[in-house]
Amino acid sequence: MNNIIYLNGEEHKEFNLEEDTIIYHFSIDKSSDITINLNKEDITLYYYYNNINYNDNNYKIRVNHNKSNTKSFVYNHGVNVNNSKLHYWVDGYVPKKSNGCDCNQDNQIININDGNSKIWPNLLIDNFDVNANHAAYIGKFKEEDLFYIMSRGISRKKAYKLLLSGFLLNTDSIDKEKISDFVDEINKL
């Protein structure tokens, strides 16, 4: 991967990409609106959005596959702490002229309490020659996971914390020094 970008906080941005790119987007209680244009053939985007939410917020992301054989993998993970609104709009667009694209999104929101969390996954696909996938989950951490962790002597609170950091720091390649505020915020949960 050539290009690695870290986003922290409130973002209304448009990216015009011409090379393989990883974007790590860490957001604490902010709304964001992101557009990404894949403007060169054969490039791949990995987008990791991790968000801790307290108040009402929206998150929109749109990936436009403007060229053939472009690939996108978008992972949106949110933890909704209070009973507020957390809404995700996740669009993947493959126009007719773009062949052989790969368009993937994985959306998950964990409600700590009874948050009003919603996800609108949207694959807008005008070309048959495409590989597209989306998954969405809204809910709590699974009791079975907590049971397994606790059965090794770990308290419920610590088990929760392990699951939270696993969920919000979901790839090994993150440079934790660049997101120390976010890591601190996880520890406050």
Binding site: F147, S151, R152, G153, I154, S155, L163, D172
Partner: protein, 249 residues
């Protein structure tokens, strides 16, 4: 070590009764085996000892070293030294094996284990079990083969040093050689920890040829219907469970 009296268990918020007035006493250093047809409550027994959230004790008691544990949380039971190697170990995405096991060690020992010591012990244990060392950096049981999951349970056992071990169908998923290796590790552990007791849940006598049981129990319809020794296990292997049914009628 473990003393179960008149234990009845049902599925929480339902009227599904699984165990019915079950009695079982396991002394220090003893090896017990439980066999029984599918769906008779073997795993339920294992899980209720560990404090699983889906089951509820409706009668009787479970005592561990004379202490009633039925009201304790799952982690409190583990901290007393109870360890359950699960029939179907859970996959947990995002949490690495090493972070998991290290946190567990710290919690059980009540102190931070030295990182160097931890890595050294981990490496020895991986080697003992013939597990690939990269598995400690992977998410817990994620994309592990069936046998690797079982070995991962025993890896945790070796590192967490429990006093009482339940093996729920450890032998399913392990190939012939792996079963031998894993049992060798367990026997070594028993030799080093003479007081440690084991409850082996299995369908086949093979594992009992490696880890010799003092008692073999047959669980059927939520209750222990018969207790014997290795000969009973071999008899079941040969003739099936019908012999138990006939004796009861």
């Amino acid at each position: 070590m473990l003393n179960i009296k008149n234990l009845s268990v049902k599925v929480i918020d339902s009227d599904i009764n699984i165990l019915n007035k079950l009695n079982l006493e396991i002394g220090n250093g003893e090896v017990h085996a439980i066999m029984g047809p599918n769906g008779t409550g073997k795993s339920t027994l294992a899980k209720i000892i560990m404090g699983h959230y889906q089951y509820e004790v409706t009668n009787g008691s479970i005592k561990f070293n004379n202490k009633d544990i039925t009201k304790l949380s799952v982690d409190e039971r583990a901290k007393l030294g109870i360890f359950l190697s699960m029939q179907d170990p859970t996959v947990i995405d995002g949490v690495s094996n090493s972070e998991f096991i290290r946190t567990a060690q710290n919690e059980i020992n009540g102190s931070k284990t030295n990182l160097y010591e931890f890595i050294k012990n981990m490496e020895f244990s991986l080697d003992d079990l013939k597990l690939d060392s990269n598995m400690i950096h992977r998410s817990i049981n994620k994309d592990f083969s069936g046998g690797e999951k079982k070995k991962n349970e025993i890896l945790q056992m070796k590192l967490l040093k429990p006093k009482f071990i339940i093996l729920d169908e450890l032998d399913s998923g392990l190939d012939v050689d792996s079963l031998k290796i894993v049992c060798k590790n367990i026997n070594k552990y028993l030799k080093d920890n003479k007081e440690c007791s084991i409850l082996i849940i299995t369908h086949y006598p093979r594992i009992l040829e490696y880890i010799k049981p003092d008692y073999v129990h047959i669980l059927k319809d939520g209750n222990i219907k018969k207790t014997g020794d290795m000969k009973l296990a071999l008899e079941i292997e040969k003739n099936g469970y019908q012999i138990i049914g006939e004796e009861n009628e």
